[in-house]
């Protein structure tokens, strides 16, 4: 279906936002604004140590304070069966409870919750709960986690490796790298970031009237409702989740986490409404964080600067309880996606530590663009070629497409090279170089940074919760339009942009459309704001649902007026028949008939004007961009000032350019924070050292320049031609700025490998000093030395082991696209293994070898790409662990239990 896109009466217009009227006058409704009769307040007792055993909890004094209603610990909540879930809505490998049970795993781990008449009293009492701990030595950094021999963070695990994909080395690629005319390598580290939405987390929960009503600061009320139904084993119909206004999220609030679940559980147990509003100390120190990573790249270039091969070694700190145990495979998927990289291998691993868990943050894979673009500038310097020319030689252009990346992603319409051209029309590089030389002669250090990238948006494959979005639209009997969408705004302005799309498609006024997306009981499932998806997936659903209504109104009008449907048009809420002005009817008149006089409708037509469309966008819709930034670095103080920032972005058809630019600017400000200021730091004992906004520095207006925008607007293949734009600024911003700083510091031979580039670190770079952090991160050789030994070959089988192997197994494969559940049937016959794997993708038989309880087999699959999967599984009692080699996709973990 090709829904009509009009001439852009609303789409493409910088309309003021509907949301702003209430938000500017203090009449929004944020979670902490909700007050319910009889509501009590929660404060958490949190662990002051990073790792240890809980010896005792004494709540007698605290419980005696007037106004204190209850003090609950993990054992109190245990009467409810609660399954904490990860982002994929699957039960994680490691045991995670709402409250600490027996052990604490990070400073801030919630140990008990106090419920009192107000928050002041709750905090008084929390301070009186006496907890005795047997403290243990914590694992804080990735290098701590890699150390073999240390007690793993989680009991019952063999190591701190949370997830792993890929191979340590690939012989073919090593040979190419060894023979390459130019080998460029560098190890980068990225600090830990606090997402820091201005509204921290919060929840109000009440179980009343047979319904669990939850007000929660989140990214999608629908997703939260589904999460809670599954986590608590309640029928979804009894759960209602409401989130009207949300003060930012940036990935943090993608799923409800331990504290929110604890509050909801406690509310059920106590039978009264409860409120918890996270304060800033809690948000900085006990919410999940993001971005603490290290990445070593080795890239071979030919004599002309064309890339030959690359190996990447990547690690990410998962903390103790990540929102999903993660090796962040997206880093590898997109590292070279926009460039011609003939051969690529990698090892990507996630590590558990005694720190707050890993959460999402705008562009969770962003380090790929940061490290690639910074390394390309280093390569240009090393090879002696202009950095822009180096990019031109390697970027995928329109002429190269369609093509498939090494990791199997099909590219059809990416435009980073074209964005770079547009950028360079606005930025006169030659003039800048002259200015830079003149400034240097006066002892001033200017720098120009350029970066290019593509961004996957609105992915609809692999991660089931992100596959589709729904629009339910009614033209009411009054002629007004009500739209209930599975989009959700935490500042995105979807109440405005979706109304623009609907008004445009229906042919009604913008003010005639009301958009609702704040209540899970109103509409159908969708993941809300996630993966830069709302314009594409929500917009597509809105267009198609609107188109159904246009068709129905047209048929009704044609029937009523005895006109040819081809001549019926809806414009500004009026239904016209071309050339016959007296036949014009208001939409309201048609709607009144559609609802109230069904006899006048075409025979057999369903009365009413209500439509629903669930839209699945294309597998991935790519946005492309190239940015440039000019800085001046004060070499006396190490202070960086940003002089100019130009962005050439191609995010397809823009619904509201002001909203698009707002998304880019917000991401860029966060990029500036990450490069220059923000650092959620921990000391060696796992204590957070940046627990206030006086220590954790966020960018202020004085840190962020005016941004200039150039929009390319290549229509996408998605309905409406839209492309996502939510995360891009935070992805391309960091390398643009780092490259500018490195360019300014090039007379000092500085390599900018670690962020943040604080004034003191910049002074270190100028002085040629190595920062303390650097001593740990050595080159690839040291990486190898610290790698855990390969798993020991299984011991000789105690035979017969048939009983231990044969039968049905429930298995989970940790694929790059998220966990995939399978059922395995094994049957052994001597050394021969026969079996069948059953998953949502289909069933397949296989044959392999068994040696005791060690199983090995291979099977060919053709979807999504044709590869051979090599399974290597060890059975131990009722548990099964192992890995599967998946060709180019590297290696994935397999776990399972007897069914």
């Amino acid at each position: 279906m090709n829904a009509p896109i009009g001439a852009g009466r609303f789409i493409g217009q910088r309309l003021p936002r509907t949301e702003d009227a209430r938000l500017l006058t203090g009449r929004g409704l944020f979670t902490d604004d909700v007050v319910l009769a009889g509501m009590l307040h929660v404060a958490f007792v949190r662990s002051p140590i990073a790792r240890g055993r809980i010896v005792s909890i004494d709540a007698i004094a605290a419980g005696g304070l007037p106004g204190v209603h209850a003090i609950l610990t993990a054992s109190d909540l245990a009467v409810l069966r609660i399954d904490m879930l990860n982002f994929f809505l699957a039960v994680p490998d490691i045991a995670i409870g709402p409250l600490a049970s027996g052990r604490v795993a990070y400073v801030g781990d919630p140990v008990a919750m106090v419920i009192a008449a107000d928050r002041y009293l709750a905090e008084d009492a929390a301070g009186l709960v006496a907890v005795e701990y047997a403290e243990e030595i914590p694992t804080v950094t990735i290098s701590d986690a890699k150390r073999t021999g240390a007690d793993p963070v989680h009991a019952g695990t063999e190591s701190n490796e949370a997830a792993a994909m890929g191979d340590p080395e690939d012989d073919a690629i090593e040979a190419v790298l060894a023979a390459a005319p130019h080998l460029v390598s560098a190890s980068f580290t990225h600090q830990r970031i606090s997402q820091s939405p201005m509204e921290a987390r919060g929840v109000v929960a009440a179980r009343r009237g047979g319904e669990l009503t939850v007000y929660i600061s989140c990214q999608s009320p629908q997703l939260v409702a589904r999460y809670l139904a599954q986590a608590f084993g309640l029928p979804p119909a009894n759960i209602r989740v409401i989130a009207k206004d949300v003060g930012g999220s940036f990935g943090l609030k993608s799923i409800p986490w331990r504290e929110e679940v604890a509050v909801i559980a406690a509310g059920m147990l106590l039978g009264c409404p409860l409120k918890w509003t996270e304060d800033r100390l809690e948000n900085l120190t006990a919410s999940n964080h993001a971005r603490e990573q290290e990445l070593t790249l080795r890239v071979g270039f030919d004599a002309e600067g064309r890339m030959l091969a690359c190996h990447a070694d990547y690690g990410i700190n998962n903390g103790a309880y990540p929102h999903g145990a993660d090796a962040n495979i997206a880093v590898m998927m997109f590292l070279w996606a926009a460039y011609k990289m003939p051969q690529f291998s990698f090892l990507a691993r996630g590590w558990y530590t005694n720190t707050p868990g890993l959460g999402a943050y705008r562009g969770p894979w962003a380090i790929e663009t940061q490290v690639r673009e910074v390394l390309l500038d280093m390569a240009a310097r090393q090879i002696g070629i202009d950095p822009i020319e180096l990019r031109r030689r390697n970027l995928i252009t329109k002429a190269d497409q369609p093509c498939t990346t090494p990791l199997g992603i099909v590219l059809e319409d990416i435009t980073p090279a074209e964005c770079l051209d547009k950028l360079l029309e606005a930025v006169d590089v030659a003039a800048f170089r002259a200015e830079q030389a003149a400034a240097r002669a006066q002892g001033r250090h200017l720098g120009l940074g350029v970066a290019a990238y593509i961004e996957p948006t609105a992915g609809s494959t692999g991660i089931a919760v992100l596959a589709t979005d729904v629009a339910q639209i009614r033209i009411e009997p009054t002629g007004r339009v009500t739209a209930i969408l599975s989009t959700h705004s935490q500042g995105h302005g979807t109440q405005t942009t979706m109304a623009q799309v609907i008004a445009e498609t229906l042919g009604v006024g913008f003010d005639a459309v009301s958009v609702f997306e704040d209540d899970s009981s109103r509409g159908g499932f969708g993941a809300g704001a996630s993966g830069s998806r709302q314009a594409v997936a929500g917009g597509g659903a809105a267009i198609r649902a609107s188109a159904i209504l246009v068709d129905k109104v047209t048929r009704i009008a044609a029937h009523l007026l005895n006109a040819n449907p081809a001549y019926v048009r809806i414009e500004d809420g009026m239904v016209h028949v071309a050339g016959v002005a007296e036949m014009t009817r208001s939409l309201r008149e048609i709607a009144e008939i559609a609802y109230g006089e069904p006899d006048r409708l075409p025979p057999g037509m369903e009365p009413g004007l209500e439509a629903q469309y669930r839209y699945r966008p294309p597998p991935i819709t790519f946005t492309s961009a190239a940015h440039a930034c000019i800085v001046e670095v004060d070499t006396e103080t190490g202070f960086v000032s940003i002089k100019r920032w130009v962005c050439a972005e191609d995010c397809g058809v823009m619904i509201n350019p002001a909203v698009v630019e707002g998304q880019i600017a917000g991401g860029l400000a966060q990029a500036i924070g990450a490069v220059l200021l923000e650092d959620m730091a921990y000391d060696a004992n796992g204590n957070p050292t940046t627990a206030t906004y006086k220590d954790y520095l966020l960018p202020a207006i004085s840190d962020v320049p005016d941004f200039e925008y150039i929009h390319a607007s290549t229509r996408s293949k998605a309905e409406g031609g839209f492309r996502g734009v939510g995360e891009g600024g935070a992805i391309i911003g960091p390398p643009t700025l780092i490259n500018a700083i490195a360019d300014a510091l090039s007379p000092f031979g500085a390599r900018c490998l670690d962020t943040p580039l604080t004034p003191s670190r910049i002074l270190d770079l100028i002085a040629g000093r190595t920062s303390a952090k650097r001593h740990e991160a050595a080159g690839p050789a040291a990486e190898k030395a610290t790698m855990p030994p390969p798993p020991a070959p299984p011991a000789a089988p105690p035979s017969p082991a048939k009983a231990a192997v044969d039968g049905l197994w429930k298995m989970v494969l940790a694929t790059p696209m998220g966990p995939q559940e399978m059922t395995g049937r094994f049957e052994t016959d001597g050394e021969t293994l026969r079996g069948r794997l059953d998953s949502a993708q289909g069933a397949q038989d296989f044959q392999g070898k068994v040696s005791g309880t060690h199983l090995k087999w291979e099977m060919k699959v053709t979807k999504p790409v044709s590869i051979t999967l090599k399974y290597d599984i060890q059975i131990d009692g009722d548990k099964l662990t192992g890995k599967v080699k998946m060709g180019f996709f590297g290696t994935a973990k397999v776990t399972g239990v007897r069914a």
Partner: protein, 161 residues
């Protein structure tokens, strides 16, 4: 715990209450007076979200006790627009300039700008920008806020601010 009887004029109406000595003004306004337009983003004086106008001056409601407000006249963001709903020039400028996204920081920004734009001596662009460096907005990258400030201070001379 000490208790204090206070009488405060909030948005033109007199409120009388007995408050605990330790109650923060921001909590008093949000919880007791029900004025939830004021937001608490950090509760330690950095983010500016809680800014209100006390006796004509922009004040951080998280750094003042309710008891200290006795006898003062307070304006919160709810009291800024005209009774007929017409937005205050600062609110209108922010709306026109797409100066907000989630809107959590916005009430504080509105109140600081409104305090500094008061007659008879409305502030200059530089003063407003300098004042804004005491407000954190995590969403917008400050672009629309800066545009709004330019619009507010670019009025031809002679026109009311």
């Amino acid at each position: 715990m000490s208790e204090h009887h206070i009488a405060v004029t909030i948005n033109g109406r007199l409120h009388q209450a007995t408050v605990e000595g330790r109650q923060v003004l921001g909590d008093f306004l949000r919880v007791t007076a029900g004025l939830t337009g004021l937001h608490l983003g950090c509760e330690h004086g950095v983010c500016g979200a809680c800014t209100i106008i006390v006796d004509g001056k922009a004040v951080r409601a998280c750094l003042m006790l309710a008891a200290q407000a006795d006898g003062t006249s307070i304006t919160t963001v709810e009291g800024l627009a005209a009774p007929d709903g017409t937005l205050h020039p600062v609110q209108q400028a922010l709306r026109d300039a797409h100066g907000l996204q989630c809107g959590f920081c916005t009430p504080g920004i509105v109140m600081t700008l409104a305090a500094l734009m008061q007659a008879p001596a409305p502030a200059t662009e530089e003063t407003l920008l300098a004042a804004m460096s005491g407000h954190i907005c995590r969403c917008t990258g400050y672009q629309g806020i800066r545009r709004a400030i330019r619009a507010l201070t670019a009025r031809p001379p002679g026109e009311p601010a």
